[in-house]
Symmetry: C2
Subunit: 198 residues, 2 copies
DNA sequence: TGAAAACGTTGACATAAGTCAACACTTACG
DNA sequence: CGTAAGTGTTGACTTATGTCAACGTTTTCA
């Protein structure tokens, strides 16, 4: 499937995502696209603030989004990075419609497709494909979170670095040391030292 | 709703769970019950071994189940404890039907209701209530995992203990120090010392 | 019921990781 | 294009937590 004009081109990555997973006809596809708005965001732009209620789901055409929080002591913890071809949002807030306890941020200049919560949930309830996508997103999110919990606990800094290289080979190439360290739960100095010991 | 004989009584907690969440008629309820087999298990019994493929979901009438793994160095990590009125399984393996990288264990003498994966997925696909339950389970599991990731990172032992007391008040009363420590990612000695400093 | 195993607590010691600061290097952008 | 801010690395020092062992208490189950 290919598109002629640039507006349609913005939906190319989402189209690939969908047809790669489901048998889905052109008309249904257009119906889905009509719910998604193209959005361009700049590097370091905050898409959702702490304490804000999350009402949008994003699909990433290009770039990278990060979910992170800052504790009382000012320490940043990153819990998730999403790249091209992935969905991302502050899911706990999106689900409950309670204030987010985290930030959603673009860490690179990014091109996104945004869908409102209302439209998203409507798609989930009216199209079997989207109901399956949401289930897949949740299952994958859950499985990843478990892997992370097991992958981190009882591991020293060097083992964590090996673990992330093995499970997400591009991660350290794409993300700054500082952010990677805040994901791994170690200080930037320790990450730096661990990498030199590989 | 109340049951006369003991077999039906085994479904009482599941009935409470369901009617507390949905308007659901007696006939549908019986259809759901017919997929669940009562099972009694003893303290410390392993319900699923490492490398075994998980084909069963459990609902807990009484008792407590634990999900944990053991790394190469012999260190135990517990990732989840489920109590009365909750569902539990080794979800990553249950989803993918790949060998589990964890154990599922009863840590108390427990009364469970077991449903096969086949029946579970069929219920999810054929009854809107169960489809919603599965979504809820996944959403809750995901949200809990996120809370745990944020709740642990950058926290010292004392803060972790305070966090678990606040977010799961009964946890430390119900679970041994050793298991609680393996959940919090600290040694039993450190947990003991942290508690004395509360 | 009673012996044996498991558990929780505490002390002394070892160590991995954090903190802080200095430095060179890269990136951002007015 | 050039300055200023940000980043990664490394060394010296500090500290929280793990390890190991000893002890008394509780639990288990034959």
């Amino acid at each position: 499937m290919q598109f002629i004009n640039t507006l349609q081109a913005a939906y190319q990555p989402l189209a690939s995502y969908l047809v790669g997973r489901f048998k889905i006809d052109e008309q249904k596809l257009q119906g889905i696209f009509s719910c998604f708005q193209p959005v361009k965001v700049s590097r370091n732009q905050i898409l959702l603030n702490y304490n804000e209620v999350c009402r949008t789901y994003y699909f990433i055409n290009t770039g990278c989004l990060r979910l992170f929080t800052v504790n009382k002591a000012g320490i940043e913890t990153s819990r998730y990075f999403a790249f091209e071809g992935m969905f991302a949002t502050a899911l706990p807030s999106f689900i409950d419609q309670k204030p987010a306890l985290e930030y959603l941020q673009a860490i690179e200049k990014s091109e996104l497709l945004a869908i409102s919560r209302k439209d998203f949930l409507q798609l989930v309830d009216t199209t079997t494909e989207f109901s399956h996508i949401y289930r897949e997103i949740l299952e994958l999110g859950f499985v990843n979170a478990q892997k992370r919990i097991y992958g981190f606990q009882g591991f020293d800094a060097l083992e964590k670095v090996k673990w992330v290289i093995e499970s997400q080979p591009n991660f350290l190439l794409r993300v700054s040391n500082k952010m990677a360290a805040s994901y791994l739960g170690i200080s930037p100095s320790t990450l730096s030292r661990a990498k030199s010991r590989l």
